[in-house]
Assembly symmetry: C2
DNA sequence: CCAATAGTGTCTATCAGACAGTATCGA
DNA sequence: TCGATACTGTCTGATAGACACTATTGG
């Protein structure tokens, strides 16, 4: 806002979009990508996203695109964490015109592949490493990198790993969320101690679940009311 | 980016601005505000900012506005830290038209009042508490709050306090940066130990400086090459 | 039995909080 | 001398890393 009055017809013409880095933990840390149908970058992979409409806030646009284009089951949509990441506004990031993109990060519980036949038929999960090796359209490589960095650091000082773990999880499963996201192993006993000693991180459900490949049945937990981890769960490696 | 091709004439009309939360530590934590000359909110206080031009990136726009409208001495401008904060895009945040604002935070060394007679004659420092009590134009109260939160938490896990302290500083002065920014006192001996034990935080200049109100002369330090504090300097209170 | 996972206990190094004590300046 | 700041040292409680040990499952 300058002190200069401005004429609605004189403002520089910008388009505003949202792009969403939707992350989940499968075998590897994975991101949801869509195949572009039109030029530029037709046929290439890109992050899901779209225009912000004149009558919706940017946050609303991100939520709408997450629902529409993402193919995430409507039942689990409320469990998805969505937060603003950063805004990307280089002059030539879109070859056609001036487009400013407000990027969001979404963390989703482990998900099956989006159902075919929906709006999001072109959407599918691929490992982040694969996405970065292959390369995404526009500046989406950079957006993805920033998004993954944000997710990794948020696991340190928030309880958001529970979002990636889903509604019910064992401590072993929660530990795998950290290990897959961070890319290195975590000492089991110390991890348990820290998680259980942090008030509001997890709550026992009282149930026990038996693993797939042998091993003692594990206690099942759900997310607690806490959101921050003070002191944080450091990633030393 | 959707897979739908889009017509340059059909995109929704948005204006994109930058608004900057420029913070410094004086007697209190203070923010640079400008007096608005035109409606809406004519005569009220607002954060400095302005339009992003068609041929500049958003980051460039923020830097330009910081230099132009801010009244910060050109010699100290390179020492100012500028980082993107968040983007604010509610539908009605500007009563005239749809405006999306990309907010930035700037941390400036302690500064004298901006020189009168410049473009930034309307700019001046006021304590953050005063700004929030009095109220700022548009949604700038919210932007300021988010900016101050960002600054406070960044002091925890980065060495950015050295930016607020200026080129040369004593450990007592650096401690005051923390105390004023966080709003509570820090234990002296522990603060010294932590700062000196963190590699790359500060470097001794070899000089000593004598304070204003008596006391032994203090060693003078400058910022070191380090940027992160691991583990962080926690604010327990 | 073996492999694999779950769960517990313990030793130790590190570090932050708290606080005492000495030193050096200006007024 | 007094007040104020600079600087050092030390004790202690909390905690994370490392690792050993037991328990319970499937195959």
């Amino acid at each position: 806002m300058t002190t200069t009055p401005y004429d609605p017809d004189a403002f520089p013409p910008f388009a505003v979009t949202v792009d969403i880095v939707v992350l989940t933990v499968a075998e590897e840390l994975s991101v949801l990508v869509v195949e572009r149908g039109a030029d530029p970058f037709a046929g290439e992979l890109a992050l899901p996203g779209g225009f912000v409409l004149p009558e919706e806030s940017i946050q609303d646009a991100a939520q709408r695109e997450l629902a529409e284009e993402t193919g995430i089951d409507a039942a689990t949509l409320p469990d998805v964490h969505l937060e603003q990441l950063a805004t990307f506004g280089s002059v030539a990031r879109d070859p056609r015109m001036r487009v400013v993109s407000v990027a969001y990060v979404a963390l989703s519980p482990t998900q099956p592949a989006p159902a075919a036949g929906t709006d999001a038929a072109a959407a599918h999960w691929i490992p982040v490493s694969e996405a970065l090796e292959h390369g995404l359209a526009f500046d989406h490589d950079e957006i993805l990198t920033v998004g993954v960095d944000r997710a990794r650091s948020k696991l340190e000082y928030t309880t958001l790993a529970t979002v990636l773990a889903g509604t019910d999880f064992t401590l072993g499963e929660l530990q795998r969320i950290y290990e897959v996201t961070w890319g290195f192993e975590v000492e089991r006993a110390n991890f348990r101690r820290k998680v259980l000693a942090t008030p509001g991180f997890v709550e026992p459900t009282g149930e026990r679940r038996t693993g797939r490949g042998g091993g003692a049945p594990a206690a099942v937990y759900r997310a607690g009311p806490g959101t921050v981890l003070t002191p944080p769960l450091m990633r030393t490696a």
